[in-house]
């Protein structure tokens, strides 16, 4: 039935690999232990790879006609050709992976992660398909009849993998700017999506009764389609949730295949990755005060933008300042809190920003950074960019740790963030972002707000009343250029 049991040493090795993966995530609880954690992850993967290669080493059948009689000793039962092909496949992947990892710009990290998710998803589909075509090799079939439980597992693995793949491809295209970040709304999409999902579940259920190819392949094809349909209507700034969600799916796909292979390393990993992605999605949704369902339903930032633009608030008076004004104000300050957002990533302003921080510190000003959980396009995006620019991580604070400090701060310096600083989220019940936790920048003595022009609105499509407050000075320019000008004035 369920194949021959694995030898104890193999099962034990997979278990150790699984434990290494747990320790890898555990290491991320602090930057100090994080690099050791990563090495645990690498060790776990090496153990899993070597164990698999040794235990499942390709062997030729003894009576194979290819072999001359003189080659028929013990060593020759190894299929060196296949082993070579496998080694070549790993080498190709290693070169592509290492080169990409080395070259990628830190600002492009969200795209890269989305691309990597798509690969895991596709790999899961391929493994499930291979298991379907050659079930004997996976020990899940007897006489060509696949064990019904394994059918459900491989069906789910293939379906989740396919959704992960096509969803991640769309997320990649949106994050990479190949596709508009605006939500694309099909009429009746909820009905279509629910229908397709129901159909997939139905097909997987029917697969237990009938293992014909059409059942398996239709489920896979529909899953590719639903991944596409689900992500297309979701707007660019909701991508932190989407990327986390796809992260979670790639884990569940691995777990489903782990069930098929009865492999504890895969099951443990799948569960870890699945929960990790789910928790990150939850954190992101909470930081936007939106339900997971409403994010997944999509469409946010489309209709609202039109309504906000028609509000006619653009003509309200505001104060405009220059780089020199900003430099003067910050030099006099005791404490400056910098609030970065996606705009900083787009403008690549993090290095100039760190230079500005260094100059201010030389003047005796205390400089801190405040990060909103959904600043940027993926969880922790801003932290990585600041780390890249050599900002020490102990100067960087999360929303709840620093929010009370704005009232005691002379200057709040907002660069590339918008909605996450909007006081309307606290006061205006009619605002689409009402209830979202925001940074209390308006409580600082002076707010310096870098923005390209007064015309545009934030992602949520709402005007930010912060712009028109008495203590706000607007710095209208490209973020990087403005910071560089401030650095010049400070120097």
């Amino acid at each position: 039935m369920h194949g021959a049991a694995l030898p104890s040493w193999v099962a034990l090795a997979y278990l150790i690999a699984g434990v290494c993966f747990i320790l890898a995530l555990r290491g991320l609880s602090s930057p100090v232990s994080s690099q050791r954690g990563n090495r645990f992850g690498i060790a776990g993967m090496a153990i899993a790879l070597v164990t698999t290669l040794v235990h499942y080493a390709p062997r030729l059948a003894i009576d194979d006609d290819f072999l001359g009689s003189e080659a028929r000793d013990v060593g020759s039962t190894f299929d060196w050709l296949t082993l070579g092909e496998i080694a070549a496949a790993i080498a190709i992947g290693a070169v592509i992976g290492l080169v990409t990892a080395r070259r990628i710009a830190m600002t492009a990290m969200p795209q890269l992660v989305a691309a990597f998710h798509s690969l895991v998803g596709l790999a899961a589909v391929l493994v499930a398909a291979a298991a379907y075509l050659n079930p004997e090799a996976f020990g899940i079939a007897a006489g060509g009849v696949i064990n019904p439980v394994s059918r459900v597992e491989m069906g789910l693995g293939a379906a989740i993998g396919a959704i992960t793949f096509s969803g991640s491809v769309i997320a990649f295209l949106k994050l990479n700017g190949n596709m508009s970040g605006k939500p694309i709304l099909l009429p009746g999409r909820h009905v279509i999506n629910l229908g397709v999902l129901a159909l997939i579940v139905g097909l997987v259920a029917y697969f237990t009764q009938d293992q014909s190819p059409w059942v398996f392949w239709s489920a896979v094809a529909l899953s590719f389609a639903i991944g596409f349909l689900l992500i297309v209507p979701i707007g660019g700034a909701d991508m932190p949730v989407v990327v986390s969600m796809l992260n979670s799916y790639s884990g569940w796909a691995a777990a489903a295949m782990g069930f098929t292979l009865q492999n504890s390393a895969m099951i443990i990993t799948g569960a870890l990755v699945g929960s990790s992605g789910a928790i990150l999605s939850y954190i992101m949704c909470r930081a936007m005060n939106r339900s997971f369902i409403s994010v997944i339903a999509g469409g946010f930032g489309g209709d609202a933008a039109a309504a906000g633009g028609a509000g006619g608030a653009i003509d309200r008076p505001y104060k405009r300042g220059s780089a020199e004004d900003a430099a003067f104000l910050m030099k006099q300050a005791e404490q400056v809190i910098i609030v970065p957002g996606y705009g900083m990533a787009v403008a690549q302003a993090q290095h100039a920003l760190r230079e500005m921080g260094d100059l201010l510190k030389k003047e005796g000003v205390s400089v801190k950074y405040a990060i909103h959980p959904v600043a940027g396009r993926m969880p922790g995006h801003m932290n990585v960019l600041l780390a890249e620019a050599n900002v020490p991580y102990d100067e960087v604070f999360e929303l709840e740790d620093i929010n009370s400090e704005f009232a005691r701060t002379d200057v709040a310096f907002v660069i590339g963030a918008n909605d996450v600083t909007n006081p309307a989220a606290k006061t205006d019940r009619s605002s689409p972002i009402y209830g979202m936790p925001v940074l209390d920048v308006e409580k600082a003595k002076t707010v310096l707000f870098i923005k390209r022009s007064m015309g545009g609105v934030g992602y949520a499509g709402v005007d930010n009343e912060l712009f028109y407050r008495d203590n706000t000075m607007m710095l209208l320019a490209d973020a990087k250029k403005m910071v560089e000008d401030i650095v010049k004035s400070l120097g």
């Binding site: 499942y56 990409t100 790999a123």
Partner: protein, 100 residues
């Protein structure tokens, strides 16, 4: 292993994952995604089995392709995580800063 044993491992691992991930500092959420990505490529185990098995050429080629894709992820994922983690530095002491 019977199904219930596997299911037990899975359910317990979900709980372990839940608590371990909540203890991850938010500053490291991007490396967390990169490293979970790398470890979820443990699916390469399945691809290797398919690639090594004789008999069905179609399955073998699917397996080999899977090995390539998963390897990209494994090597790329761990390398990019290491690169990111190496950037996280503590505030240098004031004496060190003078030398820069």
């Amino acid at each position: 292993m019977d199904f219930i044993t596997i299911l037990s491992i899975f359910v317990l691992a979900c709980f372990v994952g839940y608590y371990v991930v909540w203890s991850v500092t938010p500053a490291l959420h991007t490396p967390l995604m990169a490293v979970t990505n790398a470890i979820s490529s443990v699916i390469i185990v399945g691809a290797l089995i398919a690639a090594a098995a004789a008999g069905v050429p179609g399955a073998k080629w699917l397996g080999l392709t899977g090995v390539v894709l998963a390897s990209i992820n494994i090597f790329g994922g761990f390398a990019v995580t290491a690169r990111m983690l190496a950037m996280y530095k503590k505030k240098p002491s004031s004496a060190q800063r003078e030398h820069r």
